[in-house]
Amino acid sequence: MKKLSWLKRDLQRFRTTYFLVFFTLVLGLSGIFIIEQLKSALLFSLKSQEKELLSSDMAMSARRPLSENELKRFHEKLNPSASYRILDMSSMLYNPKKDESRLVELRVIELGFPFYGSLDNANGPIDLSENSDFFTTEDCLLVHVDTMRSLELNQGQYLRLGEKNFRFCDVVLKDSSLGFRAFALAPRIYLSRKNLEGTGLFGEGSIASHSMHLKTNKTIEELEVIQKELQAEFSDPTLRINLPSDTSEQVARAGNVFSDYLQLISLVSFILSVVGTFYLFRGLIGQRLKDAAILRALGLGPISVQFILLIGLFFIFLLSIPSAYLTSLIVTPALLSGIKTVFGLELNLIKVSWRIWSSLPLVSLFLFSAIMPVIRESVKIPVIVLIQSQTSKQRAGIFDYWPWNLLAFLSLWSLAIWASQSWKVGSLFIFSLSLALIIFTCIFYLAKNFLISILNSQVSLQSPFGLELGIVLRRLIRQPLTTLISIISLGLGAMLLSLLFHIEKSVNQEFTIESDSKPSLFLFDIQDEQVEKLKSFFSEQKIEVQALSPMIRGKLMRINESQYKADDDSTTRFRTREEENDSRFRQRMMNLSWAEGFNSSETLVSGQHFGESVKLESDETAISVEKRFASRLGLKLSDRLEFDVLGVPVIGRVVNIRSVKWTSFRPNFFITFAPGALEEAPKSWLAAIGSLNETERVSIQNKIQKLFSNISVVDITQLVERLSGLFARLKIALEMMAYFTILVGFVVVLSMTYHQLQKREAEMMLEKTLGISPYRVIKMLSFELLSVGIVAFGVGGICGALLANSISVFLLEGNAVWELTQLFYLVLAGLILVLLPVGVLIPKVLNTRPAGLLQRP
């Protein structure tokens, strides 16, 4: 009871500082809650896009009918709430009006399709319910707009498919399941399963892709496990078990990039608030050391004294958790609504995951283990020293209480890994923070020794920097621990802010799509002998060909002397994101190509371009490897790779690593050979044509269909627009989150500075008593904060930029971004920020009379 009344008095006495601690904690924790919810909402939105591409939660498919056992096991594993089958096959479509037939992709669907997404006509989603025309009439055929254009069809006309006539009953303007996969891009017509009967198209031995799509309530993580288990259970390599994330490279890549950046933002927000809270906690303990000494003098035992010092902080910490959660419950829906209104991006509110709550014990462990050295110190310093001293006597160094410091370090490290969900990112982050800490300490001590040598030899306090700066510098170097802690705390804040600015820049760079480089049409199934004719055609039509590349299917057999091992780890064990990404790459057969050099979306990362002098064995050809792919497979320059191309070994040596701007939407290959090795292999070509308006697109499509009837031409404008629109909106959402975190960071820094000034109040009054004018006192305060701010924000900003680029280049496989102007603005903003509290204190300094000094006991 006595301890509780002590807590009450304590809270009353230090109410401003306790409020600052509470405010910072609530701000930091609610920031974490809000960002976690936004992150979940954004990822959910991306996953929804992926689901629309697959049209279901999971699909099993093969170029043969699925066996009963396969279907049974699939259903058993997923326990679905609904299911449908899809049959994809090629078929000739006869247009009686023009008396011509064309090969099209026929998609045979069942009731229920699609679980996610829609087939849209001009009025919105086409009715595919049980009572719809499509399922109730015997001759309804839906035709995709590309097919309609290329065959010059008219809605309502009759078409012949196999042995049966169909009515072109509706045009599909948008098919949400059309992605960037070659097969998915093909022009389509849609038929119900029932109406397929009688066409004679589907019988024994027919070649078609059979798929079973299921809808389930299982989480993505559970589905990933089931996918692995099913893949392990069925050894048939032609059987595919697909998740939404397997459907689109672009959306999957967007998901990965977003996830990476979101985790980073979340991590930064988290560490910012934890560092800020630690700083304020420590300051509060420092203010109360004299009280602790008096209690000790009165006979209170060390444990009780420590308890009294801690109980207030513990209480505030406990109080801040529900407060932060409540804040997030109010702010997040408003934020999502704002995003929807301003950017048109609809995000669903996802409840806070249990993951967030699981971090709280670690946060507590960090805060209290970081504070314990100061607490322990409070019961070790002789009572008389504390009582007689007019300033706090905190001497706890990093080595004095190493077990506590080690515990604090380890808990912070664990928090970083937890928050980033990546031991690499988390470890690099903590390593960088530690390195920055060492840099700050070294710079401070170098500056301190330099200043000591200058200041000690002066004949007056005014020389050589003037009285105000002279006093300030003396104060800063003579309270090294206090100054260093201020610099480190502010510096780490600055570093994290700089990191965020760079992340925002990287996101911008990664997701910006130049509008003039967007492709309009994709052409595939181009045969070898058609390439030259097609080139002439393009030339005649004055069409910009963005890409014309051969495509050869190959299987990687060996890397140097080692047999290449595709991922066969089907265990259900926990995998980090890095492992998941590796696994995705290692499962694939590869599309190979050759080229004479890079296209405009490719950039050399390391090595030499083809054609530059590189030593190769007689059986080798130079190859270029995409950066992320190289990183996943551990490929480096000079590695020798052996491929199996339809039974023929093809050997290449890596001469360069290149990065590919994946938002270019152009055909790109992980592995590109120099000319010479693959020309003879069976292949098809694909091309991308850009910068065409709608009329030109229709005209070119028709001309190509007439001249090269086997070539599939797909208008991808709508899809590119859809995806680039999605990326643009997600980019804005991500940037908003970064700015939100920056705002949180600024408020944390602000409250830290304000707290620092609070501690200086008594000294300010003494200075005034000695005859220093209020303006000079303000000048001194400003100089003090500016000196700390310049070092903290200058060094912190640079460290943040270095960390951001290290993470971007080494871990996220992005590119380095050096934003010196932004760095300058950050330092400037930081300095304004640290000066803001001075502005708040100006009236106090100007108007308060320092009578308290005479009454001070």
């Binding site: 007689q388 001293s389 007019q390 300033t391 002066q458 004949v459 007056s460 306090l461 005014q462 009285l467 002279g470 006093i471 003396r474 104060r475 003579r478 309270q479 000294e763 003494l766 200075e767 005034k768 008593t769 000695l770 005859g771 220093i772 004018s773 209020p774 303006y775 300094v845 100007l846 108007n847 009379r849 320092p850 009578a851 000094l853 005479l854 009454q855 001070r856 006991p857």
Partner: protein, 219 residues
């Protein structure tokens, strides 16, 4: 006349209660004169001193410093008066903890932009017997030594008046005597007026005049 208080009143408010600490108080301190103000704890001695030094402002009345009324001066003007004409000695010494003994004494001289502040400060510290403690920080000095530094600092700018608030209150008897001897010696030497607030009658008798603060007025 150096320092004059005319009909000054000051009340403190504690919760709902108003405590009238000073009530129409008058005081004259002449140049070079030493005046002791004695009274019980809580009688308002320190409040009076804070008003005389401009550290606080009275509810009513006037305080004159020479021919200048300081009651209505702003903080900048008051700082100038304090820097040029007053030296204050506190019971708690109130040294700047991050400055050495020497720098603490140099500070008032540097505020006034005096040249050779270091030389003057060394001389002052020698006068108070601390020439061997120049580079020590306050927390490295004993209470007596800190108060001697505070005396040197108060005398540094050669003020017209020294306002001392229980200067021996935190010191043992012997050190207290030593410190007071120094204050008297230096104020006499520099023809500086001294207003000494104390509850020690013996110490008060060393001053030329002793005034009792009772019920808010000086008797």
């Amino acid at each position: 006349m150096t320092l004059k208080a005319k009909n000054i009143s000051k009340a403190h408010h504690q919760a709902q209660n108003k405590i009238q600490v000073l009530n129409q108080l008058n005081l004259d301190v002449k140049a070079g004169e030493s005046v002791a103000i004695v009274g019980k704890s809580g009688s308002g001695k320190s409040t009076l001193l804070s008003l005389l030094s401009g550290l606080d402002h009275p509810d009513s009345g006037e305080i004159w410093f020479g021919d200048q009324q300081i009651t209505h001066l702003n903080e900048t003007q008051l700082a100038q008066v304090r820097a040029n004409k007053m030296g204050i000695i506190f019971q708690q010494f109130q040294l700047v903890q991050t400055l050495t003994a020497l720098e603490n004494v140099m500070l008032p001289l540097d505020i006034l932009k005096r040249h050779k502040s270091k030389e003057e400060a060394i001389k002052l510290l020698s006068d108070v017997g601390l020439s061997h403690r120049l580079d020590h920080f306050p927390n490295q000095l004993s209470g007596g030594e800190q108060q001697r530094v505070a005396i040197a600092r108060a005398m540094a700018a050669k003020p017209e008046v020294i306002l001392a608030d229980e200067p021996t209150g935190n010191l043992d008897e012997e050190t207290g005597k030593l410190v007071m001897q120094m204050i008297f010696k230096l104020t006499k030497l520099n023809q500086t007026a001294l207003v000494l607030v104390t509850h020690d009658q013996e110490l008060a008798q060393l001053c030329e005049r002793t005034l009792h603060l009772q019920h808010g007025v000086l008797e």
